[in-house]
C-alpha cells in the first residue's frame, strides 16, 4: 500500500479546481451585500435629506433654536433643541457610566479573585443583553418616581431619569471592554511595578490604567455612541418637548425620540415632516460616524506598544 498512490486515486482534479475558483467569487458576493446595504442606506438618507433641504433652508435647520414641526400656521425646523436633548441624556449617561464602569473594570481586573470574576463578568454582560424597551419602562415606572422623592419639582418626563438609565445600559460595555483592555496588560509589567514597592492601587492606577488607556478610551467612545443612538429609553421616559435650554428636570426630546414620534404617528408621505425625519436621521448618523472615527483615532494615537 502506497499512500501517495492512494492520494493520487482520490484526487478529483476537475471538481477541486472548480470549487477553488468558485468560492472566492461567492465570498466576494456575500461581502458585497453588506457593503451595498450600507451604501443603499446612506444614499436613501442623503436623497431624502436633500429633498428636505429644498423645503427648509439649510442654515435655518442647523442654527435654528425652535423645533415646532407640528405648528399648523408657522412650523419651524431648527434642530438645535433636539441635539441639546440628545446631549443632555448622553452627558448624564457618561457621568453615570464612566466612573462606575472604570471602577468595576479596575476591581475585576486587579482585585477580584478568579471565582468572583467568573461569576460577576457574565452577569455584567447579561445586563448588556436586556432589551432597551425594558430599560425604558424601568426608567419611567421605577427610576422617575424614585427620583421624584429626592428631587422636588421633577416632572414625570425629564432628562435625568433616562440619562441615568442609559448610563446603566452602557455601563457593561464600558466595564467589560475596559476590563479586557486592562487584563491584557502583561503580568510582567505588574510584577515590575510591585518589585519597586508599589501598592496594588498604585499598580492599577499608574501602570495598568495608562497601559490600557487606548482600549479604555475606545470603550468610552463606543458607550457614548450607543448613548447617542439610544431610542426606546428616551422615547418612553424623556418626553416629547424639544427645548433649547439647560433644564434637566423637565420634559425634553432627543433626535431619536423625534423620529419615533413621527414614524409612529400619521405624518403623510411627502410632507415636510416626513422628510424631516430623514434630515434628523442623517444628523444622528453624522454624530455616530464622528464617534466611530474618534474611537479609531484614539486607539491608534494612544496605543502603547508592549
Amino acid at each position: 500500500m502506497n499512500v501517495q498512490s492512494m492520494i493520487e486515486q482520490h484526487k478529483n482534479k476537475g471538481m477541486k479546481k472548480f470549487v477553488e475558483k468558485l468560492m472566492p467569487k461567492l465570498l466576494f458576493i456575500t461581502a458585497l451585500v453588506s457593503v451595498l446595504a450600507t451604501i443603499g442606506i446612506v444614499f436613501t438618507l442623503i436623497f431624502e435629506t436633500f429633498e428636505f433641504f429644498r423645503r427648509v433652508p439649510f442654515f435655518d435647520y442647523i442654527l435654528g433654536t425652535e423645533w415646532l414641526p407640528f405648528s399648523g400656521t408657522s412650523p419651524s425646523y431648527g434642530v438645535l433643541p433636539l441635539i441639546i436633548g440628545t446631549l443632555k441624556v448622553t452627558g448624564i449617561a457618561i457621568v453615570v457610566a464612566v466612573p462606575l464602569g472604570l471602577a468595576a473594570a479596575i476591581y475585576l481586573s486587579e482585585y477580584a479573585s478568579d471565582n468572583v470574576r467568573r461569576v460577576v463578568k457574565p452577569i455584567l454582560e447579561v445586563l448588556a443583553g436586556v432589551p432597551t424597551i425594558v430599560y425604558g419602562f424601568f426608567a419611567l415606572t421605577f427610576v422617575t418616581p424614585l427620583l421624584q422623592e429626592v428631587i422636588p419639582g421633577l416632572k414625570i418626563f425629564n432628562a435625568i431619569s433616562p440619562g441615568i438609565v442609559v448610563g446603566i445600559m452602557i455601563l457593561p460595555t464600558i466595564a467589560s471592554l475596559s476590563e479586557d483592555a486592562m487584563s491584557s496588560v502583561p503580568r510582567s509589567m505588574r510584577e515590575g511595578a510591585l518589585a519597586l514597592g508599589s501598592t496594588k492601587l498604585e499598580v492599577a492606577l499608574k501602570v495598568v490604567l495608562p497601559a490600557a488607556l487606548s482600549g479604555i478610551l475606545a470603550s468610552v467612545v463606543l458607550g457614548i455612541s450607543r448613548a447617542i443612538g439610544e431610542t426606546m429609553i428616551v422615547s418612553l421616559a424623556g418626553g416629547s418637548t424639544p427645548k433649547f435650554d439647560g433644564e434637566i428636570t423637565d420634559s425634553i426630546q432627543t433626535m431619536t425620540a423625534y423620529i419615533v414620534q413621527v414614524s409612529t404617528g400619521d405624518a403623510g408621505y411627502g410632507t415636510t415632516i416626513y422628510y424631516s425625519i430623514y434630515a434628523v436621521g442623517f444628523t444622528l448618523f453624522i454624530f455616530t460616524l464622528l464617534m466611530n472615527l474618534l474611537a479609531g483615532y484614539i486607539s491608534k494615537k494612544f496605543r502603547e506598544e508592549y
Binding site: E191, G192, L196, G197, K206
Partner: protein, 276 residues
C-alpha cells in the same frame, strides 16, 4: 565535559581581576533558617539554610525546576503572587524576619530591588520608567527627579545611549538596552539588595557581557543575588555560589571552590555538565 575548560578559563580571568575576600570580613544581609515552601501540595523548597553576605555577588545555580527562582522570589516575597503558596521557617533580612505577616511587603520591596528574566519596562518614556519608583515613593521635585534619572542611567551604563531620547517610549530600545533600563529603574530608588532572575537569558552575547560588567560594577554599592542557568556566568561574576537541586541546597561556598573542588559529587556532576 565540554563546558569545563571554558569554566576554568573564566575562573582564571576572574582571578586576575578580583581579589577574593574571605567570608568573615562581611556582614550577613540575608539569613535563611529552615525555609520550607509549598505550591499547593508540591514541596518546592526544603529546609533551606543560607547565609548571604553584604556587598557580594551570590549566584544561585541548578537545573530547571530546582527551586532557585522560587527562592529568589521569596527574598522579596514576590512568590506570594502565586495564590496557593505556603511557607514555614524564617528569612532574616538585616535582622528582621521578612516572612512575618507584620512585615510590609511594600517596605521590603523598596529595599530589595528586582530585575526579571525578560526585560519588562513600562510602556512609558525612558524618563518616566526611571522616575516611576521615586515618584510613587513621594519624590515629585522635577530637578531632583532629573538628577536621579541621570544618575541611575549612568549607574546602569546606558546614559550615553539614551540621553538624547529620554522622552521616547522605552519599547523602542533593543532587548539588551531594555534590560539595562530595568536595572536603572531598580537603581533609581537606591535599594540595598538587587535580586536578578536570569537577567541575561533573553539577551544576545554582547548585551550579556554588558550586563555582567555592570554587575561587577554594582557590587561595590549593592548586594546582588543572581539566579542563572549559565554556569560560566556564575563562575565569571559571583563571589559565592549556591547549588540547588530538587528544592534543597546541596552546596554553598566560595565560587572558586564550587567550580574547582566541590565537596558534593552532585555539584561536581552538575558544574562539569554531566546533567542539567
Amino acid at each position: 565535559m565540554v563546558k569545563k575548560p571554558i569554566v576554568e578559563q573564566a575562573m582564571q580571568e576572574k582571578k586576575k581581576d578580583l581579589k577574593v575576600i574571605t567570608p568573615s570580613e562581611k556582614a550577613s544581609i540575608y539569613k535563611t533558617e529552615n525555609l520550607n515552601l509549598w505550591y499547593g501540595d508540591k514541596h518546592a523548597l526544603k529546609d533551606i539554610q543560607l547565609d548571604i553576605k553584604q556587598n557580594e555577588v551570590t549566584a544561585i545555580i541548578g537545573p530547571s525546576g530546582c527551586g532557585k527562582s522560587t527562592y529568589l522570589k521569596t527574598l522579596n516575597r514576590m512568590v506570594e503572587l502565586v495564590p496557593s503558596v505556603r511557607t514555614t521557617g524564617e528569612i532574616h533580612y538585616r535582622d528582621r524576619n521578612i516572612l512575618d505577616k507584620s512585615y510590609q511587603v511594600e517596605e521590603l520591596r523598596t529595599k530589595v530591588g528586582m530585575v526579571f528574566q525578560k526585560p519588562n519596562p513600562f510602556p512609558k518614556s525612558i524618563y518616566d520608567n526611571i522616575a516611576y519608583g521615586p515618584r510613587i515613593h513621594g519624590i515629585k521635585n522635577r530637578k531632583i527627579l532629573d538628577e536621579i534619572v541621570e544618575r541611575s542611567l549612568r549607574g546602569a551604563a546606558i546614559w550615553d545611549e539614551v540621553k538624547d531620547r529620554l522622552h521616547e517610549n522605552a519599547y523602542g530600545l533593543s532587548g539588551g538596552q531594555q534590560q539595562r533600563i530595568c536595572i536603572a529603574r531598580c537603581l533609581a530608588i537606591e535599594p540595598d539588595v538587587i535580586l536578578m532572575d536570569e537577567p541575561t537569558s533573553a539577551l544576545d552575547p554582547i548585551s550579556t557581557l554588558k550586563v555582567e560588567e555592570l554587575v561587577q560594577e554594582l557590587k561595590k554599592d549593592y548586594s546582588i543575588i543572581i539566579v542563572t542557568h549559565n554556569m560560566q556566568q556564575a563562575a565569571r561574576i559571583s563571589d559565592k555560589t549556591a547549588f540547588f537541586l530538587n528544592g534543597e541546597v546541596i552546596e554553598y561556598d566560595e565560587t572558586d571552590k564550587i567550580f574547582s573542588n566541590p565537596a558534593d559529587q552532585r555539584t561536581e556532576d552538575y558544574v562539569s555538565g554531566r546533567f542539567g
